[in-house]
Symmetry: C2
Subunit: 389 residues, 2 copies
């Protein structure tokens, strides 16, 4: 039996009907700023049929993801969950849920992501103020105190691990200052979660966000978000609705919490993936994980030094997950990254903003943070530099 | 050689360190309002290592996804791309990019998603007005004309396929009215794309959004969005920035268009998945795809009738992808859906809003839109209804 289409419709236009080949993805070693390679076990977990976002089996996975995320971040925050988007969505969620129009937001800017925080905060009606440090440097507590004293912001945002510079911001004392000045502390942990020591509660962080595709070795698309009771109080005292429906934590809280009220269809397979990524992290243990990243990074520093190359960031503030390497005088940085990917299937990052054209960015994150990858990279880089001479 | 962690850090708290088992997902047949089962070929495509979001191989995939999406939607719109989130994010993107504070937005509400459009539009500062129809009915052009005449909105939003009611809105004449009254037409095609006839350009639709997990048979997490030149003109004439950074099409346009400027890290594996889903759609062809959905739906209608069950929506407005079935007098609807999932691994949807407790929702979408699934469902439903008597 054939059925004819029941209503009369126009003819189908085949202008955009193209015959594309089946997917053919090159096998890259991803040593740039992210995404990094996924753990094969994570890809295997993702490759299942979806189930419903209100299925009791799925609700159990949600609880498990939340609990594993608390461990990874070292926080007891009840409201700890993956946002249904990539890291930038989780970043925006911290601001969207806390900023009310007219709130003063202080952003500490020493790289690309500080600038993005300023841009985002402005869109939610914040009065944005900022302090700045050159790209590659960190902030100290006295300059933060001075800025808090001057501006008396409702929220302060700072980047723990600046993916654009390879700097790891020391966190001692910053949370205490934000409490003293009664502002919320938002922390960017996109390139630190699952890679370098991170203690949200002990540091007095009120909101944090991260991504899945760096230290967690999971494809991008499900992004850790957390907020504590101080931040929830500001959310529940809002005069108006959160100016972003998709990221509204007062609604998401009802789905992830007791109510289980439908908000939006979850990216189910990404939840499978991040659960497995977090489970693998808990199996390895935070200390071993952090140590593995440090060892890989130190192996890289030694190899670069041996080649006569210089890291952009002073040793004590270097981020183990992401290293900025100065492009030597007379070398065409872009030609090197192009040759690395074409001849060696190896992705390296270029510089952003103030560091554009001045550095390469080498990521050793999650599954990729292994000495054998460092050796592969150093050997390929040597070869390419020789060939381009 | 072992390295000790270079800085002194607090002790790791193992309160949230739990030992969870490897992922174990029940094999469900998903016949609810979504997600539906993914095509196994789509899952296989997703299960690859990520590549960089600026990798030339990835940029080519992006172009292919855009072109295949134009075919699926029957549109020539240059700005046609997947949003990095689930369908609700693409929905919000249509409003966020077009609404400026004070704009009047007219929403046609005949189900749950009309209400959501109103909620979202309000968050972007719109003056929201609405017209209403009972859940299960459609709008006619004369009531739409009257509302446009009364309110003179800048934007009108209507749902093509109401997932909460199973109604398919006839579109003839609506685009012409929106042009006559100089407003943009936003169309919700979440449950129609890839399932029922859809002609964006011929219908004069200015912006549309959809999802991946229904007619496209792809897991949720990458969501079709499109806007035409009329809508782009409103975007480029804005006085202020789009009040949502993640979904700002003026920025995304630079990444998906000629500039290839980094905006946010794309959900790379979801792009693999949606490309394969769209490729499979183009292989099957729109006409065959729509016909397959219609045949499955008609097979369902006949089977339900034979069982003495009633569809909630009059035949001529029924949506082939989603059928609302009235729960018979004296039957506990929730007990039926619980037993279907527990004993038959089959997910069915309950009613939402005005239809809560009154209907079941049966989805036959994408890969699942096959007569054999209808037969499985009808046989399981018969058994469960008998057992619960």
């Amino acid at each position: 039996m054939t059925t004819t289409l029941s209503t009369h419709f126009p003819a189908i236009d085949n202008t955009h009907l193209k015959s594309f080949a089946k997917l053919d993805i090159p096998a890259r070693l991803l040593l740039g700023p992210g995404p990094s390679n996924a753990d094969p076990a994570v890809l295997a977990a993702m490759d299942r049929q979806p189930i419903g976002h209100l299925d009791k089996a799925y609700l159990q996975l949600m609880d498990e993801v939340q609990e594993l995320m608390r461990y990874a971040w070292q926080t007891d925050n009840r409201l700890t969950l993956p946002v249904s988007g990539t890291g930038s969505a989780a970043m925006e969620a911290t601001l969207a849920n806390t900023i009310e129009p007219g709130d003063k937001v202080l952003v500490c800017v020493n790289g690309y992501f500080g600038h993005r925080l300023m841009d985002m905060a402005g869109r939610y009606g914040a009065e944005v103020v900022s302090i700045h440090r050159p790209w590659g440097e960190v902030f100290n507590t006295s300059e933060i105190r001075a800025a808090l004293e001057t501006h008396r912001p409702a929220i302060m945002a700072i980047v723990h691990a600046e993916t654009s510079t390879g700097v790891c911001q020391p966190m001692d004392g910053i949370g205490d200052l934000c409490r003293e000045y009664e502002c919320l502390l938002v922390l960017d942990t996109v390139t630190s979660l699952g890679g370098v020591p991170l203690f949200l509660d002990k540091w007095g962080v009120d909101l944090a966000y991260s991504c899945s595709q760096k230290g967690l070795s999971c494809p991008p698309g499900s992004s850790p978000f957390t907020m504590n009771e101080r931040a929830l109080t500001k959310l529940s005292n809002r005069r108006g609705k959160v100016a972003n429906w998709y990221l509204d934590m007062s609604l998401l809280n009802n789905y992830w919490g007791q109510g289980r009220t439908y908000h939006h269809t979850a990216p189910v397979n990404m939840t499978y993936a991040i659960r497995e990524a977090l489970r693998l992290l808990s199996e390895e243990g935070l200390e071993a994980r952090w140590q593995r990243h440090q060892e890989a990074a130190e192996h890289l520093y030694a190899g670069l030094e041996e080649m006569g190359l210089t890291c952009h960031v002073p040793r004590e503030y270097r981020l183990h997950t992401l290293t900025t390497v100065r492009i030597p005088e007379g070398v065409d940085g872009k030609a090197v990254t192009a040759k690395l990917i074409d001849d060696h299937n190896m992705e390296l990052g270029g510089g952003l903003g103030d560091l554009a054209g001045r550095v390469w960015r080498v990521g050793l994150m999650g599954y990729n943070a292994r000495k054998e990858n460092v050796d592969k990279f150093l050997s390929a880089l040597k070869q390419v530099l020789t060939e381009l001479k």
